[in-house]
Symmetry: C2
Subunit: 422 residues, 2 copies
């Protein structure tokens, strides 16, 4: 691993930031804007391989963000890249889809437990919007129930920001609290006979608060209220899909959705999203008009087929759980030894690591991530992280060597009033 | 050119359609669904090269749809593919953007006349939605004026279909008629002090009706009403961008927009869209939250830089206009010789070819396209077509040889009451 250095004005990253500031509002947009990351985090990247990414100044990191989710078999997975390249070298964007559209839809129907059909798109927001439109078309109703604080995309009806959004864009949203059956019952009652859909995330992964897996009671209540009212149960599996369970992230709850939105990891970084649906929604899905200029492109779909096949072949979710447990246990042990207590939440393959007693800005977490980054490990202090099947035992152990030093540095510089182990 | 055959049940296309019918609602979705095309058109494609595409049964066509717009330098342009592959072989979807994000934003600012900044996305619908959100953020107002019948994307606020869409999704849309200044003035008056934006297409390219270029009077009226009210002028250049004028499709009118949405041809088939904006909207663009999992991927942006550079280097719009004139003149001459009159409209590089006296379903046009397809030329009877810089004189002449025979066949089979030259 190269020895990472702090940014300097002479770095390529700094030069690119200065150029970006002139031609891009705020220098960068959206969730990959480095402004919200700990100091010293690079804005611009050059390459990735396996569990590692390299920034534009040649600094290599063991990567625990996986491009914020899309990378699930490791960066530049040879089988996936070969499948994409084979189609890309013949043609990608043509006058109609390639055979990969059919093969990928077949794979999704074979793999996802509730799926009888699939539609393919580009963004997670595309897939979630299609779910809502399909639910309304199927039911002839309007109200959509979503969990308070849940992220379902970056378009006006669901954006976490209300800037530039009108009240009408959210007119038919009603809210409940994830895992709170009473709040769900109240929201269902509010919707009356106009309930089109209940939308749930794979688990509660709101920014900066402890993650929660769905309780069985909550999962069954969601299903029951959809069944009782004829509403559509929508699972937003954009972020978690294929990392926890190939059959769908709620498969372990004993509850299956009617529609699922997938994206991020479906093609190991190639731009693709999908909606899968149950048979009773096939006609509704066929009745709505959804399309995009690049939605039929073959190379990304070939990458999707290769990704799903490889994840099934190697039992990807089991490998990522193994890596996640090793990381979680290692971090807990190190933290305790250096006098910190961690609050690690969520599935181990998508961990959120918080310091007990940290302030709302996660200052201690931010300082820890900064120390880890300087030692070649790319973590996040407020967002869930992502493991991939390239996170072998050796890579996890290498990362833990660096975090051991990061905890030691944190302990040396520790403010007296912060982060005591309870 | 291979000798195209009609579809049979034994064709690969038929076999894929049968498989697709089981796992994809309606067998295919959106604008590349072959159902709306003339009989005998293939649903599935295998490859493309230059001005030619090949379907899954090995039938090759001279392509006048260019993947419905994205292909502008011809299929599999070597320079573009090499630029994309260079980044893709290092890494595409990483923890932050690559340097290509900055370079592409710089190119857009250098190339597009009104542009002081750029944001990059995936779909044309993404870009148009961002324009609307940015206009509302900048003005604090809500009303959006759009032309009746204009296509601006496939999401609820602008979808051509109302299935699954609520009235609130369109609550703040007001309509005018393209090129009709009086209707524009009336819509501006209706918006009162709540006018956020006036949205115009590059030209009127509504499905199935003659295309219209913007009149100077209309263009200046749009600009004036935006200036007078402080509203944002949005140019939807998703379909036409970089085919007519590298500086923006309204550059010839003497009017420049405040925001432009680009997509389709920006990266010669690689999935990318962009919003460019004027300086006064920089802060508003920075204030809205727009993002997507794959919006930072480097390979598509590298393809975008290579595409724009090549179009500038070879003066792509001039080449496409040359090809378009050759095609238009050739078709007119042939039609007249065989006793038909054509109504060819729109810019020559994006032609709509209609038969004078045809019925509303364009039955004569459909029959002509079917005859041309059997002779190896892929046309569309109701949607504007697209030329690319790979449409050399030789390719146009080769296509005209086939259409000469198609007109002859059409004349032989001509119903007595249809399509007489006036």
């Amino acid at each position: 691993m190269n020895s990472p250095m702090l940014q300097t004005n002479e770095s390529q990253d700094s030069r690119l930031r200065a150029r970006a500031a002139r031609v891009i509002p705020g220098g960068m947009w959206g969730h990959q804007r480095a402004e919200a990351l700990p100091k010293g985090y690079p804005q611009f990247f050059a390459s990735g391989k396996g569990a590692r990414v390299t920034d534009v100044d040649g600094r290599e990191y063991i990567d625990f963000m996986c491009a914020w989710g899309p990378i699930i078999l490791g960066h530049q997975h040879e089988g996936v890249e070969a499948a994409a390249a084979a189609q890309a070298s013949a043609g990608n964007c043509l006058n109609g889809p390639t055979e990969h559209a059919v093969i990928l839809a077949e794979r999704l129907v074979d793999t996802v437990a509730h799926a009888d059909w699939a539609l393919l798109q580009k963004n997670g927001s595309d897939a979630m919007t299609t779910c809502i439109t399909t639910a309304r078309a199927a039911t002839g109703r309007r109200k959509i129930l979503i969990a308070k604080g849940a992220y379902h995309g970056a378009v006006p009806w669901c954006s976490p920001s209300l800037v530039g959004v009108t009240s009408e864009d959210r007119a038919h949203l009603l809210h409940f609290t994830f895992n709170d059956v009473d709040s769900l019952v109240a929201a269902v009652a509010d919707a009356g006979d106009d309930l089109a859909a209940i939308v749930v995330s794979a688990f509660r992964h709101d920014l900066g608060i402890p993650q929660e897996l769905p309780t069985e009671a909550f999962a069954h209540a969601v299903r029951k209220h959809c069944d009782d009212s004829g509403a559509v149960m929508v699972l937003d599996d954009v972020r978690a899909g294929f990392r926890l369970n190939m059959a769908g992230s709620w498969e372990g709850t004993g509850v299956r959705p009617d529609l699922t939105a997938f994206s991020k990891a479906i093609a190991n970084g190639h731009a693709l999203s999908a909606v899968t649906g149950s048979e009773w929604l096939r006609d509704a899905a066929n009745s709505v008009f959804v399309t995009g200029s690049f939605w039929y492109a073959g190379a990304q779909m070939a990458a999707g087929v290769a990704t799903l096949d490889e994840l099934v072949r190697i039992d990807g979710p089991a490998l990522m759980a193994r890596a996640g447990h090793r990381l979680r246990n290692g971090l807990d042990e190190q933290a305790a030894r250096h006098g910190f207590a961690l609050n690690q939440s969520g599935p181990v393959a998508m961990p959120l690591v918080q310091f007990a007693g940290d302030d709302p800005k996660a200052s201690l977490g931010e300082a820890f991530c900064g120390e880890a980054l300087r030692r070649g490990v790319y973590l996040h202090h407020r967002h869930n992280m992502f493991l991939s099947t390239a996170h072998t035992d050796a890579e996890i152990d290498c990362a833990l060597e660096a975090t051991e030093d990061a905890f030691a540095a944190l302990a040396r510089n520790r403010p007296k009033d912060q982060g005591d182990a309870a």
